[in-house]
C-alpha cells in the first residue's frame, strides 16, 4: 500500500493505493497519527483495490478524532469498496462523494 498526500483548498487529501487490510491498516494508522490536527481530511480511494474490516476500523478511529474539530470525507470510491461500505453500513454515516 502506498499513501500520497497533498493540501488543496484548505483540505488535506490522502490518496490510498493498493489494499487496506490487516497488514496495511497499522501502516495507514501510523501515517495518520501526525495529521490529527487537520480539520478537513479527504481520503481519495480511486486507487484503493480492497478494504477489509481492519481497514474500516482505522477509518472509524480517524473519523472519531477528526469529527471533534473538523470533517472527513471519502471520494472516488470504486464499486468493490462501495459494496463493502454499503454492507457494513458505513455509507449511512460517512460523507462520501
Amino acid at each position: 500500500m502506498k499513501i500520497t498526500r497533498k493540501i488543496e483548498n484548505n483540505e488535506l487529501i490522502l490518496t490510498i493505493n493498493g489494499r487496506l487490510d490487516t497488514i496495511t491498516a497499522s501502516i495507514f494508522e501510523n501515517e495518520l497519527k501526525n495529521i490529527y490536527e487537520t480539520t478537513n481530511l479527504v481520503i481519495d480511494m480511486k486507487n484503493l483495490e480492497y478494504i477489509s474490516s481492519a481497514g474500516l476500523r482505522v477509518i472509524l478511529k480517524i473519523q472519531k478524532i477528526i469529527n471533534k474539530n473538523g470533517t472527513m470525507k471519502l471520494k472516488n470510491v470504486n464499486e468493490n469498496v462501495m459494496e463493502v461500505l454499503n454492507l457494513t453500513g458505513f455509507s449511512d454515516f460517512l460523507a462520501i462523494e
Partner: protein, 273 residues
Amino acid sequence: MKSEREILMKDNIKKEIDDNYLSYVSIIVATTTEENALKKMYEWEEITFNGDSQTYYITSIIKDGIEKKLVYGRQNEMGMVAAVTLTMKIIEHFKPQYIIMAGIAAGIAIEDDNEQIYGDVLVANKIWNYASGKFVSPNKTEIRFGNIGFIPRPAIVKIDEEMLSYAKKAAASPLNQCHVHFGMMATGSAVVTNREIVNKQIHRMFKETIGLDMEAYGVVYATQNATFPRPKALVIKSVCDYANNEKSDQYQKFAAYTSCEFVKLLIEKFLPV
C-alpha cells in the same frame, strides 16, 4: 423385575448416547441485522419442520474433503427465553457438533490500553446472568436504584477451553481481519442505555466484564445442559454500542458483519472436523 416403561426409558437413553452429530455448526442470531450479515456469508436453503413454527437455514461447506452441514436460526424475539428455546430446538433437529452465537453486543470494558472500537469482536470466556438476584429495600444492599435495592446472585457459565483455543488461533492468524478481545460477558433481559446500570450492577460484581448482551448466557446454558450428543458452544459478538445514553443503531451493521466474518474464518479454517 423392571417394568416395561423402565426398560423403554433405558433403551431410549442408550439410543441417544449412540447417536452421532448430524451437522457441523449451528449459528444462532437474535436480530434481523445479524441475520442479514450472516445471509451474505453463504448461500442458504430454507428448511422447516411440521409442528415447528421456526424457520431454519442450511448450507454445506467442503472441509478436509468432507461435506459439512451448517445451519442457522434467528430468534423470534430478543432475549434469553427465545435464545434457550431456539438452541434446544436446533440441538433436537440438527444435533450440531458446535453451536456459535453470533451478532452484536455492547462493549463495556473499563477503559485501559485495550480500547474497544465499534466492530471489535468479543469472544466470551465466561458469561454471567447479571439480572439474576433479588429486589430488596434500599437499606439492605449497596446496589440501589432510587428506592429499590438489588442483591445480585450471579450465575456463571464457562466456555470450553478447547473451543477458546480455536478462537485464539483464529484471532492470531494473518487471515483474520478483525480486532478480537477475549473476556467475560454479561447477559440480561433488557437493552441497556444507561452507564449507571453497567457501573452498579455489572462492574461492581465483575469489573473484568467486557461485553453485554441479551442472549449469550441462555445459549451456552442450553448447550451445556442439552441431551447427548451435546454440542460445544462459543459466543462471538461484536461491539455496536457502549451501553450508554449515546447508544444508537448506527454501527449495528458493521458489528454484525465483523462478528459473522470472524465466525466464518473460525468455521472454515480453525474448528476441527
